[in-house]
């Protein structure tokens, strides 16, 4: 056996060490003198192979301070990093100066100056789905902790200046975000603190970030990163101060968020105060929140408590285990003022709740947010419930379930199921509340008594328009003479952007018996709405163009013919109406209104309405087609009036039994005798009336009034299409209809003395030299 020579072994090892040392020294020396070549050699080892780098100038200097301590200066000008796919482009200058202690048990790198200045906007594309594989948050915290500790132990920085004005970051699932970052440590004056300022800007939002980093405090377990974050969008903003600490075996993030959403002086806003801690087996987020002006100032939430516990699992970012979420929110009903509350309590003889407690409780699978899934997987399954209200004014039960699913197409589907009942058992009390809030419940509905009820007991479903909320509503109201019984199916369409709500109402009218106001037809019908030609403010200035919009579409149908009955002293027994109407999203009203047979009695005359139908199908002019047949039985004649054309310009055809000429029918209609038995003044009236009918200047209402009213005079001005009439209401009482004072009054002075004798005051210009005024009592006969 050969004896080992320890000397030879030592010599061999010394030779190897010397060789290695020579290689290292040679490599270092080569690197010192050929840094660019060295980078080219190293780059494939530290960066992906398809990344290309280039620079305009590369300077590297090393200066020995002592054998263990060296001073370096490294300047790279116009350093570019480029990758084709995914697209990456960065361009910056790097300046570095510092000292390195070799062979020091506590190796220390001291940066005298570190400067990275971006020279042009950078681009960073991160394609592909989010990946749940990796360290879980606690593992990441521990990794961060070791890095922080190492940096704190080995690196000292005197001066840092990092300036990145813009990097555009694009991901597969989000639009481009432009980031900026400034890191500053001005010098040795405060060797421990580094200022971070940054921001992000996207199309719809932007955010800012300010923080001070104190690595020396990390090991002490107190907050080592303090700062604030703020973000804002078009109508929302949120901000919070935060502090981050790394106590043993956990990381704690403290925050105090303030935010608001919505335009106007008092938008919905809220605060959240709490902390999030990352522990070895779970993340716990707890906090308290206040919200005011929800929604539109009608309610607020004070002291809402919430907690979210997310379990952790090794090797994945988010655990597959279910997290637990719980929110308890006392909702203050601020829309009920103290005065109204007192009134409500007085009306219902009950204590009206000031706060409604709402709870939300359930499970959340956070990992399902990130996973690319092959099948639909639940993200959240939450139950919500409102504290029930039950008194003589309001019965409210509202509960439900909210399921959120991550679908195969990577979209998230929300499926709320609602089990809600709202009932107003006392309509009068509701009316009182509306009236005190200056919301009109007009006559004759204001005296009705009964209940209104709405229920939602279904899973709300998603359509291409957004979320659909189906509601069943019923009204059962009545008074001594009136009755309103109707069902309604209501669908609320809420789009994903929540910019509007479309309400589709489908009414079925079982009974709608209401009283018409006791207006006298010949006194003229008052205008019920403001003249649309009077503009109180510039058009389009009512609200911002993108303000929240309500659109109401409805369908109204009567369950049986004549289910709508309009009570009037003029109509016997009532005016029966059948409806089949639809109001579209464009604002058109389509369908028909049919008046069933009835009789109109006015001033001792009776008109039979056999049929009258308004067909609403003209989308452009809103002048609806009309067809109908009316009858009047005068002493010797039966006059039939067939109406066609449109509501504003009806075409009126007259016929009679026995048969008469058109002018005679008008005479009979107005005076109950043919034109040959009329005096000239009355004949003029007939002529004018006939002209107005021919010119379609008399609408349906006018036709009825004139046909059912003892008419004394009628004058029609074809230039202005204005007619004026005088009707006899009772013996010795007359009224004028129309607008032209002169014409109306002129006819007033024709005083009928007897059936065939009329006193007239008139004058007429003639060819003769003199014009004479006359006052004549005259009798005449035309034959």
């Amino acid at each position: 056996m050969r004896k080992i020579s320890w000397l030879r072994v030592f010599g061999f090892l010394a030779g190897v060490f010397a060789l290695l040392l020579a290689i290292v020294i040679g490599a270092v020396a080569w690197t010192f003198y050929h840094p660019e070549r060295a980078w080219r050699f190293v780059q494939p080892l530290v960066m992906p192979k398809d990344v290309q780098t280039s620079w305009a100038s590369w300077q590297f200097k090393a200066q020995k301070i002592s054998m263990k301590r060296w001073h370096f200066e490294w300047n790279v000008i116009d350093f570019k990093v480029h990758r084709a796919s995914p697209n990456i482009f960065l361009q910056f200058d790097v300046k570095f100066a510092g000292n390195v202690n070799f062979f020091d048990p506590r190796t220390e790198v001291q940066f005298e100056n570190l400067e990275v200045i971006s020279k042009s906007p950078g681009v960073l594309e991160m394609m592909g789905p989010p990946n749940n594989t990796g360290k879980n948050p606690f593992e990441q915290v521990e990794s961060l902790r070791s890095q922080v500790y190492w940096l704190d132990r080995t690196v000292r920085v005197d001066k840092i200046k990092i300036s990145v004005p813009q990097i555009s970051v694009t991901t597969a699932t989000h639009p481009t975000v432009k980031l900026n970052l400034d890191v500053n440590k001005p010098g040795k004056t405060d060797p421990l603190a580094v200022d971070f300022k940054g921001g992000a800007k996207a199309t719809l939002w932007e955010s800012t970030f300010n923080a001070i980093l104190r690595l020396d405090q990390a090991a002490a377990g107190i907050a080592f990163l303090k700062g604030d974050v703020a973000a804002k969008g078009k109508d929302w903003q949120v901000s919070t101060p935060f502090d981050l600490a790394l106590p043993e075996k956990q990381m704690v993030l403290g925050y105090k968020v303030k935010g608001s959403a919505g335009a106007g002086a008092n938008p919905p806003s809220g605060t959240a105060d709490g902390e999030a801690s990352v522990q070895s087996n779970q993340i716990v987020i707890r906090g308290k929140s206040d919200f005011v002006n929800l929604p539109g100032g009608m309610s607020s939430v004070k002291g809402a408590e919430w907690a979210l516990e997310l379990p952790l699992w090794p090797g994945v970012v988010l655990s597959h285990l279910a997290s637990h979420a719980n929110i308890t929110a006392p909702i203050s009903l601020t829309f009920i003022s103290p005065e109204v509350r007192a009134q409500l309590e007085k009306n219902c003889k009950c204590k009206w709740p000031q706060v409604l407690k709402a709870t939300l409780d359930g499970k959340v699978w956070a990992s399902h947010l990130l996973d690319g899934v092959a099948e639909d997987r639940p993200v959240a399954n939450l139950n919500f419930k409102f504290e029930p209200v039950n008194n003589s004014l309001l019965v409210l039960n509202l509960a439900g379930e909210l399921r959120v699913t991550h679908a195969k197409d990577q979209s998230f589907k929300v499926s709320p199921t609602v089990d809600a009942t709202i009932k107003f058992p006392n309509f009068q009390a509701v009316k009182g509340w509306l009236e005190s809030n200056r919301i009109m419940v007009p006559s004759p509905f204001d005296i009705l008594q009964g209940s209104i009820e709405a229920t939602i007991k279904t899973t709300l479903w998603q359509s291409d328009k957004g979320l659909v909320i189906p509601i069943d509503a019923k009204a059962n109201l009545a008074s001594t003479e009136q009755k309103v019984v109707l069902d309604s199916k209501i669908n609320l369409y809420i789009p994903e952007n929540f910019k509007s709500v479309d309400i589709m109402l489908d009414f079925t009218v079982h009974d709608f018996i209401v009283e018409l106001p006791p207006l006298d037809p010949v006194q003229g019908f008052p205008q019920l709405t403001k003249d649309s030609r009077l503009l109180m403010q510039p058009e389009g200035s009512v609200g911002p163009p993108d303000a929240f919009k309500f659109r109401v579409m409805y369908g109204i149908r009567t369950a049986k013919p004549g289910a709508v009955r309009l009570l009037s002293k003029l109509a016997k027994p009532a005016i029966p109406v059948s409806l089949d109407l639809d109001r579209t999203a464009r604002g058109d009203t389509l369908g028909s209104v049919r008046i069933e047979p009835f009789e109109l009695n006015y001033l001792h005359r009776t008109m039979h309405i056999d049929q009258l139908r308004v067909i609403m199908d003209d989308r452009e002019t809103a002048d609806f087609a009309v067809d109908g047949r009316l009858r009047m039985e005068q002493s010797q004649y039966k006059v039939s009036i067939v109406v066609s054309g449109s509501l504003r310009s009806p075409l009126i055809k007259l016929s009679s039994e026995p048969e008469l000429s058109r002018s005679d029918i008008v005479s009979v209609l107005l005076y109950d005798r043919t034109s040959d038995q009329l005096v000239s003044a009355d004949r003029e009236t007939v002529g004018s009336f006939e002209a107005a009918i021919s010119d379609r200047a008399i609408g349906l209402l006018g036709l009825w009034v004139f046909a059912s009213t003892p008419i004394r005079s009628f004058s029609y001005n074809a230039l202005t299409k204005v007619y004026t009439a005088t009707v006899q209401l009772a013996e010795g009482t007359t009224a004028s209809i129309g607008t032209d004072w002169e014409e109306a009054a002129q006819l007033e002075v024709r005083k009928r003395v007897t059936r065939r004798w009329v006193l007239t005051a008139s004058w007429a210009p003639s060819d003769s030299k003199e014009q004479l005024g006359k006052l004549v009592l005259q009798w005449e006969k035309r034959f």
Partner: protein
């Protein structure tokens, strides 16, 4: 004095007490008038059924706001006090400017309109503006314009936007409801014909003429636009042609009187007509017959008009019995935007002056002819007397070779012109002028001694509200002889629609010279000046005037004429 006036101005507002419309509504600053139906919507009605006995306060506020805004009170305020609404109507918003955005220029001129700028913004005002714009466009060839009127309360502007389209010419005129009448009947009345530019005033004139004739009970003209062509449809309803009328009453000149008349307005399919009138009053008893017979086949617009008149006339200065039988040829037509009427023919006369100066039991043959013209504008605004002109040329004559003992001719010429100063709508001032000239060529009648041989209708008696308003009616009578030559000019400046109740004050001035010989105007000059008031009342025009007659360079012939204030009150007469 100033303080007194200020007090008068302040008093009405200071004196306003609260006005209680009903139990629920209290007006705090002004009183508001509501119609009975409006009041029901605001206050409810004790006559109403249960649903309308009371009205909720929010509904009361709503309806009041609508009524107030439509009446020009655009910023009313409301306060609730228990079950009562207190209302402050506030100030009325008035129009600052009338702005026009029209696709045609030169038609709508806001500087020519009145009663808009400075007036309150109400629904009625917007109706008036719409009518004005529509009427102006339709009067200038645009048959089917679209007019949109808005009032902007924030800057107090009224904005008129028009889409007038293109000017249209009449392509054809159809007549519906002619009832067997020939088309030439319509042509006789029509103020417009194919090829003319559309003008709603002329279509309305056509309707008015048809209606006024008495044959038609209804007349209406409707346009249909076909690009640049306009088709007119005249719709008429023909009534029973024969009219028997009996009446008694009073007039400006006579009280009482009795009339019995008969007219047949449709003797044939050309609407030939005849009429007979028996009139009886203390001043005049007459039987008059007239006709317009369209009997010429190749001249359908020319009529032949036999006529007669038997009359007994009794005035302060004379009493006369007369009878006439004659026949005219005549025609109506439109030209130069005017209506013309000519008629003329021989008349056999018998005159017997029972009292006063005049011929006794005289028979003679006379010739009478007249040409009358009036602009369409005058015809259209004849009731308002706003603008246009009318004139008349007339001839009466007799020849001793043709059954008369005298050679005498009377020529009358008159012209009236109404000038709407600055062409405002409605007018502000209307300056009216009229000129009248009369000449009687009565050779060889002696200037004084044989004047009685002249029939009254050949002699000139002036004075009165139809010419010299500062002198009594027919007071300038040349000692009862009448004059043979006269020249008159009269002027009137009338203020329109500035006083309430349609009262129109006016200033008047007349000047005339008369002559006792043919073709001669003698001294002196007669003038009148004064003022008056016209009321376009509902039943006709009432006029009153106070005028003082002046005589410049008077002589012995004018000694009998008094110079004093003369007051006239008339019904139905115009300047």
């Amino acid at each position: 004095m100033v303080n007194f006036l200020a007090l008068l101005l302040v008093l009405p507002s200071a004196a306003f007490a609260e006005f209680r419309l009903c139990d629920n509504v209290l007006f705090k600053d002004q009183k508001m008038k509501l119609t009975a139906n409006e009041k029901i919507l605001v206050c409810g009605s004790s006559k109403g059924s249960e649903g309308w006995k009371d009205v909720p306060l929010s509904q009361t506020e709503y309806h009041l706001k609508v009524f107030l805004q439509n009446d020009g009170y655009h910023q009313p305020t409301f306060e609730r006090h228990g079950n009562q609404v207190w209302v402050w109507m506030g100030k009325r918003t008035k129009v600052d400017h009338l702005l026009i955005r029209s696709d045609v220029s030169g038609v709508l001129d806001p500087n020519r309109t009145r009663k808009i700028e400075g007036y309150r913004i109400t629904s009625d005002l917007l109706d008036d503006v719409t009518k004005w714009a529509d009427f102006e466009l339709k009067s200038n060839g645009y048959a089917c314009p679209k007019v949109d009127v808005k009032a902007q309360a924030w800057d107090r502007n009224v904005l008129v936007t028009t889409n007038a389209g293109t000017k249209g010419r009449i392509r054809k005129i159809e007549w519906e409801g002619r009832d067997g009448l020939k088309y030439s009947v319509l042509e006789r009345y029509s103020a417009i014909e194919p090829g003319d530019l559309y003008d709603i005033r002329k279509t309305q004139l056509t309707s008015n003429r048809l209606f006024a004739d008495g044959l038609f009970e209804m007349a209406l003209t409707q346009p249909t636009c076909q690009g640049e062509d306009v088709d007119l449809v005249v719709k008429t309803s023909v009534g029973k042609p024969r009219l028997l009328r009996f009446g008694f009453g009073g007039s400006t000149e006579e009280l009482p009187f009795m009339d019995v008349s008969y007219k047949n307005a449709r003797l044939d399919d050309k609407a030939s007509s005849m009429s007979v009138l028996l009139h009886s009053s203390p001043k005049l008893q007459s039987l008059t017959g007239g006709s317009e017979l369209y009997v010429f086949p190749i001249l359908p617009s020319v009529f032949w008009g036999p006529r007669f008149k038997i009359a007994r006339k009794s005035e302060h200065a004379f009493e006369e019995f007369s009878s006439k039988v004659g026949a005219d040829a005549g025609r109506y037509w439109d030209q130069f935007n005017s209506r013309w009427h000519v008629r003329g023919g021989p008349t056999v006369n018998y005159v017997d002056t029972v009292r006063g100066i005049g011929p006794q039991q005289s028979k003679y043959l006379s010739w009478e002819a007249a040409l009358t013209g009036a602009s369409h504008l005058y015809e259209l605004s004849v009731r308002d007397q706003y603008e246009g002109w009318s004139g008349r040329l007339e001839y009466h004559g007799q020849r001793n070779e043709l059954g008369s003992k005298l050679n005498v001719d009377r020529y009358d010429a008159s012209l009236k012109y109404l000038w709407n100063i600055n062409n405002y709508y409605p007018p502000l001032f209307v300056l009216a002028g009229r000129v009248s000239a009369v000449a009687v060529n009565a050779n060889p009648v002696d200037l004084t001694s044989n004047r009685e041989k002249l029939p009254l209708e050949y002699r000139i008696f002036w004075g009165g509200d139809q010419n010299l308003r500062g002198f009594g009616r027919q007071n300038l009578n040349n000692k009862g002889l009448g004059y043979l030559t006269g020249l008159y000019g009269g002027f009137e400046l009338r203020l329109i629609e500035e006083l309430p109740y349609r009262l129109q004050p006016f200033l008047l001035w007349d000047v005339a010279r008369l002559g006792n010989r043919r073709w001669t105007l003698d001294e002196p000059v007669f003038t009148s000046w004064g003022y008056g008031m016209r009321w376009a009342s509902p039943f006709g025009t009432l006029r009153g005037s106070a005028a003082k007659g002046e005589i410049e360079n008077g002589n012995v012939s004018t000694v009998a004429y008094t110079r004093e204030w003369v007051y006239f009150f008339s019904f139905g007469q115009e300047f």
